[in-house]
């Protein structure tokens, strides 16, 4: 009997004939590299022999407008070709999007929210508009880290590092490989440094 895992808490302990199938939704604004980071995660997972899909919420991208991208990762070929309606995790690249209901829409019960956020951790529930205990929430000061490392407020790779702290679905090394393939040398190096720092500075809100 094959059981389908959609809940993250058991993921680090996936063994035997349990099939991994994860759906992630990325929230950001046009120009922040939302689709790029979705692709980076998919490519990284493909290096670990997973089947992957990555696609944007289909539409012409407008700079600054809220945009979505989706990543699917599975042990088996991915047949489904529709949007993601009930993600296991959402990643928020831009903290000004946090108040929107779109963030938690369809998110599985006890699903994971990973967000760029640097204020008092206990306030994050109010900002997102959810009760404590509804979801697992992780925060990362991604904007500050991106400014320090890249000297630009581009938070996509930082939030990928942050996601991997919350959900160890792929190895950091695979992400580094994907980044090295996507960006030229010095830019790749900076982004890898940013992923590491974001990974280390991500905390679960207790």
């Amino acid at each position: 009997m094959i059981s389908y895992v959609s809940h993250m808490l058991v993921l680090p302990y996936v063994v035997g004939d349990v099939v991994l199938f994860v759906e992630i939704r990325w929230h950001g604004r046009g120009g922040q590299g939302v689709w790029t980071v979705s692709n980076l995660l998919a490519v990284a997972a493909s290096y670990e022999d997973k089947y992957v899909q990555s696609f944007p919420a289909f539409g012409p991208e407008r700079s600054g407008a809220p945009v979505l991208a989706f990543t699917r990762i599975s042990d088996e070929p991915i047949e489904i070709h529709s949007m993601v309606y009930e993600p296991d995790a959402v990643v928020v690249l831009d903290c000004t999007l946090l108040g929107s209901r779109a963030i938690v829409e369809g998110l599985k019960k006890n699903g994971t929210i990973v967000t760029n956020y640097e204020d008092e951790p206990s306030k994050v529930y109010g900002v997102i508009g959810v009760e404590k205990g509804e979801y697992r929430i992780y925060t990362c000061p991604a904007s500050r880290l991106a400014l320090e490392v890249l000297k630009r407020p581009i938070t996509n790779t930082a939030m990928l590092g942050s996601l991997l702290k919350a959900l160890p679905i792929v190895k950091l090394e695979s992400v580094f490989k994907a980044i090295e393939k996507r960006f030229p040398g010095p830019i790749a190096e900076k982004n890898i440094e940013l992923v590491k720092r974001a990974y280390n500075e991500t905390q679960e809100v207790k």
Partner: protein, 417 residues
């Protein structure tokens, strides 16, 4: 049953992370194409943009001709193919509509051109998203029409298309259809063959058929060549036109067999196959209810079938991979004994039904045991076909199978009002 070991096992195939457009471009790159002609502006796709990079980098020998319209793009392909070249172009929606006039010439001249159609809705209103009305618009043009489900199949089918088109019993142009955005802009990881394996699969460059010319009292290659002049497509009135159309009718009859053969060869080579190449049934044998579908939605439907099967529901699906020529007999055979069939169409012939419904209704007319038939029109202009939407009409069909009659033959699903 013995497992076929592919000649090129998966570990010898290169892993590529690409979207559907790039997968097609990569397939064309490996297919020793002599001429690619394209109109480079909207509604063009990334296919020719990516391919033009290969040309600029000197990675292919292909002559890339950028033209001023899709009408010209297809005209260049016709000229190139008539001169013996392997020719390719790609387009979408309104671009395909603008090619329409020349599509008929390509097929009637028996030119094995391959065209990638990224399926997108036709204007008006302006829409850049997926539906199949663009492809259905070329239904009667004499082209072979294949539809793919995922990025891997887009790659595989593009290579297969050249082999099908150039088969000496076929010699017809092939359109490879992939869903706009759902495949064209979705990154998936696929396995690709080494270049030399693709070259070998296609038998190298295009081989020309022979044709008899009276002035030499012998055979010459069927291509425009000043050394042995030929006329192709001259005036042909009621004296011979009808006979020439019969040649197209005959050529279409050979296609099913060739598509099946190429699908089997591909399976032996790569370990991948798509049903028999024409239809891809899933869980149909004991099913009471079956849904038919084209394109990327086939995968979503299959995942719903799996879910409903786990709940003990006797449901199945058939992916229609080839729409022209339409496999009427095969589908009638598959649907024998099924109680209710839902035909999904991402398009509509206004004032009639969805285009694949018309085919399936035709196919079933002579069947002794006719299933109840419902046409589900879905996803126009890129509206998403969610698993929930599909599951709902599966349940509706189960109800219809139980009741034994159909109230509405055509249903519009996922639409307001």
């Amino acid at each position: 049953m013995a497992q076929t070991i592919p000649h090129v096992p998966p570990e010898k195939q290169l892993l590529l992370n690409v979207n559907g457009d790039e997968a097609v471009a990569y397939a064309v790159k490996q297919s020793l194409v002599d001429v690619v002609s394209a109109y480079p502006i909207t509604p063009q796709t990334i296919i020719v943009e990516k391919f033009s990079e290969f040309v600029a980098n000197g990675e292919v020998h292909t002559e890339f001709v950028a033209v001023e319209s899709e009408h010209s793009a297809m005209s260049v392909c016709v000229g190139a193919a008539a001169a013996g070249a392997r020719a390719f172009t790609a387009t979408s929606s309104q671009g395909l509509a603008l090619m329409w006039e020349i599509l008929y010439i390509a097929s009637a001249l028996r030119l094995p051109i391959v065209l990638a159609v990224v399926n997108r809705a036709l204007s008006a209103p302006i829409n850049i998203h997926c539906d199949h009305n663009d492809a259905y618009g070329m239904r009667d043009s004499g082209w072979i029409q294949l539809f793919v489900e995922n990025v891997q199949e887009a790659y595989d089918t593009t290579i297969q298309a050249f082999k099908i088109a150039e088969d000496e019993n076929v010699l017809l142009p092939v359109a490879v259809n992939l869903d706009g955005f759902f495949l064209s802009h979705t990154l998936e990881n696929i396995r690709i063959l080494p270049d030399n394996v693709v070259h070998e699969f296609l038998g190298g460059h295009r081989k020309l058929a022979k044709t008899r010319v009276d002035y030499l009292d012998g055979e010459v290659p069927f291509a425009l060549n000043p050394a042995c002049p030929l006329s192709i497509g001259p005036l042909d009135l009621y004296d011979y036109y009808f006979e020439h159309k019969m040649h197209q009718v005959e050529a279409m009859k050979h296609v099913l067999q060739v598509v099946r053969k190429v699908n089997s060869e591909w399976y032996e080579l790569t370990g991948r196959k798509y049903g028999d190449g024409v239809l891809e049934p899933y869980e149909v044998e004991d099913a009471d209810v079956v849904v038919t579908v084209l394109g990327s939605t086939a995968g979503t439907v299959r995942s719903v079938v799996k879910k409903l099967r786990r709940e003990g529901k006797k449901v199945g699906m058939v992916k229609i991979r080839m729409f022209r020529p339409f496999p009427h007999k095969d589908i009638a055979e598959l649907l024998k004994g099924v109680k209710a069939v839902g035909v999904m169409d991402r398009g509509i012939s206004f004032g009639s039904y969805g285009q694949s419904y018309l085919e399936i209704a035709t196919a079933l007319y002579s069947s002794k045991e006719k299933p109840l038939l419902v046409n589900y029109i879905y996803g126009l202009g890129g509206r998403d076909a969610s698993p929930e939407l599909i599951e709902n009409f599966f349940k509706e069909l189960i109800g219809i199978a139980e009741k034994g009659y159909v109230e509405e033959e055509i249903r519009f699903i996922g639409v307001r009002g």
